[in-house]
C-alpha cells in the first residue's frame, strides 16, 4: 500500500530516497507531534510509535509510518497509541537536552533504521 514516512533519522532519509520520507527537524517528540496531527486529520498509524525496547525520551531518532490517505474518521487505535507515546516520552524525557557521542548517535540511527526496515515488507504488502 501507499504509505507516508515521517522521520528525523538521517540514515532512513539517506537509504530510502525513493520512499520520499517527510523530514522532521527536531527530536522524537517533534516526530510524534507531526504524527499526531496527521492522525487527527484521519491518517492511520501503520507502525507503533514506541521503539522496540527503547525509551522515547532517551533516543535521538524515530521513524513512523502512516497511511498516505486520510480517512474521514479518526482512527481510535492510532489516537490511543499517540497518546501513550507522548505519555511515555513525557515519563522518560531527560532533564537536560540529549547529546550523544557520534558513534552512539550513529548506532541509534542504525537501530531505528533496522526497526523501520523490519516493517518495510509488511508495509509494502499491506492491503
Amino acid at each position: 500500500m501507499e504509505f507516508l514516512t515521517l522521520t528525523n533519522n538521517p540514515a532512513v532519509k539517506e537509504k530510502y530516497p525513493d520512499l520520499k520520507p517527510v523530514w522532521v527537524e527536531g527530536g522524537v517528540d517533534e516526530v510524534y507531534r507531526r504524527a499526531r496531527d496527521l492522525v487527527h486529520k484521519g491518517h492511520r498509524l501503520l507502525t507503533h510509535p514506541l521503539s522496540s525496547s527503547l525509551k522515547p525520551g532517551r533516543i535521538p531518532y524515530k521513524t513512523v509510518a502512516l497511511s498516505a490517505k486520510a480517512e474521514t474518521t479518526v482512527d481510535l487505535m492510532s489516537l490511543g497509541l499517540m497518546a501513550a507515546a507522548f505519555e511515555a516520552w513525557e515519563k522518560t524525557k531527560p532533564d537536560v537536552p540529549l547529546s550523544f557521542p557520534a558513534q552512539v548517535a550513529a548506532d541509534y540511527a542504525l537501530v531505528d533504521l533496522a526497526v523501520f526496515e523490519s516493517a518495510l515488507d509488511s508495509l509494502k504488502n499491506a492491503p
Binding site: R36, D37, H40, A83, F86, E87, E90
Partner: protein, 351 residues
C-alpha cells in the same frame, strides 16, 4: 516534659481548634502549647510514648484564600515545636479543611523532612490532590467517626515517628497513594501467575498485581424542561482562553482551569482568544476559536430565545495528558460553581 518522648504537633481548623464556626473561618494561623479539642482524644490514644507538644490552628477560608502564605506561616509555627511527627485533622468530609490538612502535611514532609499523616473521608477533595505525597487514613464522612479515627491516626503517627517501615495500604489502612514499589515476593512470578489462573478458573477471589485504571460512571441528569428560560454554560477541555493565556494554563498536564468572562462578546476572534492546548494542531482553533467554543452560535440562539441565557463566564482547561485525578477535581470544582450560580445545563466541548 518527660525526656525521650516523641514530639507530636497537631493541625486543626478554627472549628475543631475551638475558636469558632464559619464566622471565624478567616482566622489566621496561630499556635497553642499542648493539645486542643480532638487533640485530647489523640493524646489518650498516643499513650505514654508520645506527647502533643503543640497545636497549630488556622481558619479554613483563610487557608484557602492565602494558600502560599498560610502554608508558610503554619510551617513556621509547627517548626518551633520541633516535632517528630505531625498529625492533621481528621477533616472528615470538610473540603477546605481536608485540602488544608493535605497541604500542611505535604509541606511538612517536603520542607521540614518530618513525617506527617492526616485523615479524612475518601471522597474529600483533599484526597485526590494530596494522596500521592501524604499518608491519608480514611474516615467516616462526619465527626461522628472521630472516636474511630483517632486511635488509628495515633497508631500510624507513632509508627512514622519511630521511623518504622510503612507497609502496603492493605496492611496499614491508608488510602492507596498510587505509587509502585518493588519487593521480593515469596513465590516467583510464574508460580503466582499459575496460582492466579487457577483461582480465576475456579471462580475464587484473586487480586491482580497491577490494577487497570478505572473511570467513574455518573447517573444522567434529568432533561432541561424549559430551554427557553434556561441558563446554559460553555465549558471546554480544548483550551480556549483569552489571548495571551492570562492564567498560563499549561499546554499539557494542566495544573489548573480558568474562568473567563464572555460579557459583551458576540464572537471569538484571533484578536480576543486562542487555544492553550498542546495536544492538537492549533492552527484552526487559533484562526477561529468558535470552532472549539461556539460562542457566536450561542449568542444567536440566545437572541432568538431558543435558550434563556448564556452564562456570563466560560470555563476552560487543557485535556492533554491531564491526570484523571486532576481532571475530576477541576470538573467537580467547575460543577459546584455553576450550580451555585444557577446554571441549568452545560455544553462541554472537547477536541
Amino acid at each position: 516534659m518527660a525526656q525521650g518522648k516523641l514530639r507530636v504537633v497537631h493541625y486543626l481548623n478554627q472549628f475543631f481548634g475551638q475558636i469558632g464556626g464559619e464566622e471565624k473561618a478567616n482566622t489566621p494561623p496561630e499556635a497553642r502549647a499542648g493539645a486542643v479539642g480532638p487533640g485530647m482524644g489523640l493524646k489518650a490514644a498516643l499513650g505514654a510514648d508520645a506527647e502533643i507538644v503543640g497545636t497549630v490552628i488556622c481558619g479554613d477560608t483563610y487557608f484557602a484564600e492565602h494558600l502560599a502564605e498560610a502554608t508558610r506561616t503554619v510551617l513556621e509555627l509547627i517548626k518551633q515545636f520541633q516535632p517528630d511527627v505531625v498529625i492533621a485533622g481528621p477533616a472528615f468530609n470538610a473540603g477546605r479543611y481536608g485540602t488544608a490538612c493535605g497541604a500542611v502535611c505535604q509541606a511538612v514532609v517536603k520542607e521540614l523532612k518530618v513525617p506527617a499523616v492526616t485523615a479524612m473521608f475518601p471522597e474529600n477533595p483533599g484526597v485526590d490532590i494530596y494522596k500521592k505525597d501524604v499518608y491519608i487514613l480514611p474516615t467516616a464522612d462526619s465527626a461522628a467517626g472521630m472516636r474511630e479515627a483517632l486511635p488509628k491516626l495515633a497508631a500510624f503517627a507513632l509508627k512514622l515517628a519511630r521511623g518504622e517501615a510503612i507497609g502496603t495500604p492493605e496492611e496499614e489502612g491508608y488510602i492507596p497513594r498510587g505509587i509502585r514499589k518493588n519487593f521480593f515476593a515469596e513465590k516467583s512470578g510464574a508460580a503466582r501467575a499459575v496460582d492466579m489462573l487457577v483461582a480465576k478458573l475456579q471462580g475464587k477471589p484473586f487480586t491482580t498485581e497491577l490494577p487497570m485504571p478505572i473511570f467513574d460512571r455518573v447517573p444522567p441528569n434529568p432533561p432541561v424542561k424549559d430551554m427557553a428560560h434556561a441558563t446554559i454554560a460553555l465549558v471546554t477541555s480544548g483550551g480556549i482562553v483569552p489571548k495571551g493565556n492570562p492564567d498560563h494554563i499549561e499546554s499539557s498536564s494542566a495544573s489548573k482551569f480558568g474562568k473567563y468572562s464572555l460579557k459583551g462578546l458576540d464572537d471569538l476572534t484571533p484578536e480576543t482568544h486562542q487555544t492553550a492546548h498542546g495536544g492538537y494542531d492549533p492552527t484552526y482553533a487559533n484562526a477561529d476559536p468558535d470552532r472549539v467554543l461556539p460562542l457566536d452560535v450561542m449568542r444567536d440562539l440566545e437572541r432568538e430565545g431558543r435558550i434563556g441565557k448564556l452564562f456570563d463566564y466560560h470555563y476552560a482547561t487543557v485535556g492533554n495528558g491531564t491526570s484523571v485525578a486532576n481532571a475530576s477535581r477541576y470538573g467537580a470544582a467547575i460543577a459546584k460553581e455553576l450550580k451555585e450560580a444557577g446554571v441549568d445545563a452545560v455544553i462541554l466541548t472537547s477536541t
